[in-house]
């Protein structure tokens, strides 16, 4: 695969996230936060399936393969784009919209920075943990682990959705 081709696939993730963030923002404004959250839950569930499919795709490509067919190239592009839509877009809802909805404009920045700060600390695990994991288990199994983390993300989002509906969770 050519260098530019590979870069395009990486950018596909960011572009997918950008499209998804705008879509969720529109849903949030046009309908309600509840509708946007339901869309997020659907997206994240699809994300689990997409990550598992990426892992399966990696498994299905022979190690000795020197290049990819056009069909497989398009599949990889689509999968990375879809992963961006389902996994990258919803992140903007957590770091941007929730602080405002939850805290109001006076303390939105405090809540937003706490959320983003903790998330950034956790994400450092991607730098120190994922590489060794991919080396020891192989990329396919590492992506299966990632699908498991995506499932945990779904449960976190579901918990949040339920907590938002509960009166006791609301801050007064």
């Amino acid at each position: 695969m050519h260098v530019a081709d590979r870069r395009a696939r990486t950018q596909a993730f960011a572009i997918g996230g950008a499209v998804s963030a705008l879509l969720l923002g529109l849903l949030n404004d046009r309908f309600s936060m509840q509708v946007a959250m339901k869309a997020v839950l659907v997206f994240l569930a699809l994300g689990v399936a997409i990550l598992a499919t990426i892992a399966w795709t990696i498994l299905s490509v022979p190690a000795s393969s020197s290049g990819l067919s056009i069909v497989l190239r398009s599949s990889v592009f689509s999968l990375v784009f879809a992963a961006g839509v389902t996994m990258y877009g919803p992140y903007s809802l957590t770091t941007a919209t929730i602080p405002f909805r939850y805290a109001g404009k006076k303390t939105a920045a405090t809540v937003g920075s706490l959320l983003d700060g903790i998330a950034t600390l956790v994400s450092t695990a991607s730098g120190v943990g994922f590489g060794p994991l991919a080396q020891s288990l192989g990329w396919a199994h590492a992506f299966f682990v990632l699908a498991g983390i995506a499932l945990a993300t779904w449960f976190g989002a579901f918990w949040h959705h339920r907590a938002a509906q509960s009166d006791s969770a609301k801050l007064k």
């Binding site: 696939r9 941007a96 405002f100 404009k105 993300t153």
Partner: protein
């Protein structure tokens, strides 16, 4: 700090510090030096996002905050791609890596100055952008929104919204709007003046009380869990997808690095190697 010091000073200080540290990056090549400077750069940069959240939350009501934040978040979705294109073009022009850092610092400083001169952190006289695009007063927009469809989330944040009082509480907002609508017009004026009074008296809650409330809130902690795992997956994709595509899907060549600049450099090296081998 952004909520207590203000968005504009924190944003400008953050950008100026970032520019200074980017310049400092150009004057060293030892690993410890670059690690320390880069860590400090990330600390300086971390004030930008909360400042942006604060500015946007003051400019837009709940009815438009979703799309406003979505557009704002394009900064980290597409900004990365744009900055890579910009820096790659500088490398293509023949600038050394030190000169690229200086150019990036100059750009950051220019952005800081633009923000210092042009950024208005709050709309003038409490004007907020409403869904119809026309600015109107918060208080009058409340009545306007109440006449719209009940399924719509067009619930502007009134200035009576207490700090940390769940601006997402649409039922409460709707009740408040209904109450306002049901009052006789003579009393509505009273409510508006009451609102303005509360607005002027509303104080910034102390950081300790904010943290105390957050600490025991399932709403916040569930968002933390969701946000953390989501960010972890995103970072894996952003940092490792090129490697995965390279190694697992039949792509030969040098390993791409952890950071984007190393990745660009690795890709350029690979391009150079492939063109060199093609010539041979």
């Amino acid at each position: 700090m952004v909520d207590y010091v203000g968005a504009k000073p924190m944003l400008v200080v953050s950008l100026v510090l970032t520019a200074a540290l980017q310049t400092a990056s150009a004057f060293g090549s030892q690993r410890w030096y670059l690690t320390a400077v880069w860590a400090a750069t990330r600390i300086a940069m971390c004030w930008c996002w909360p400042s942006a959240i604060r500015v946007v939350s003051h400019w837009f009501t709940a009815a438009r905050i979703g799309i406003a934040m979505a557009v704002l978040s394009q900064a980290f979705y597409l900004g990365d791609a744009v900055s890579r294109l910009y820096l790659s073009s500088l490398i293509a022009l023949g600038l050394s890596w030190r000169e690229v850092f200086v150019a990036a610092a100059a750009t950051t400083f220019a952005i800081a100055m633009l923000n210092l001169l042009l950024l208005r952190t709050e709309p003038p006289d409490g004007l907020l952008h409403e869904p119809d695009g026309a600015p109107s007063r918060e208080t009058s927009s409340s009545a306007q929104s109440s006449s719209s469809s009940s399924s719509s989330s067009a619930v502007p944040l009134t200035s009576t919204t207490p700090p940390l009082a769940a601006a997402d509480d649409e039922d409460d907002c709707e009740d408040r709007l209904l109450l306002q609508q049901q009052r006789p017009s003579s009393q509505q004026g009273t409510l508006e003046s009451e609102t303005e009074h509360l607005s002027s008296e509303a104080e910034q809650p102390s950081l300790s009380s904010v943290l105390q409330q957050l600490g025991c809130s399932p709403f916040f902690w569930s968002a933390v869990v969701w946000c953390s795992f989501n960010n972890l997956i995103d970072q894996v994709f952003l940092d490792w997808t090129p490697n995965m595509l390279q190694i697992s899907l039949g792509i030969s060549g040098a390993l791409a690095g952890y950071t984007s600049m190393v990745r660009v450099a690795a890709e350029r090296r690979e391009e150079h190697l492939s063109s060199h081998s093609a010539r041979r």
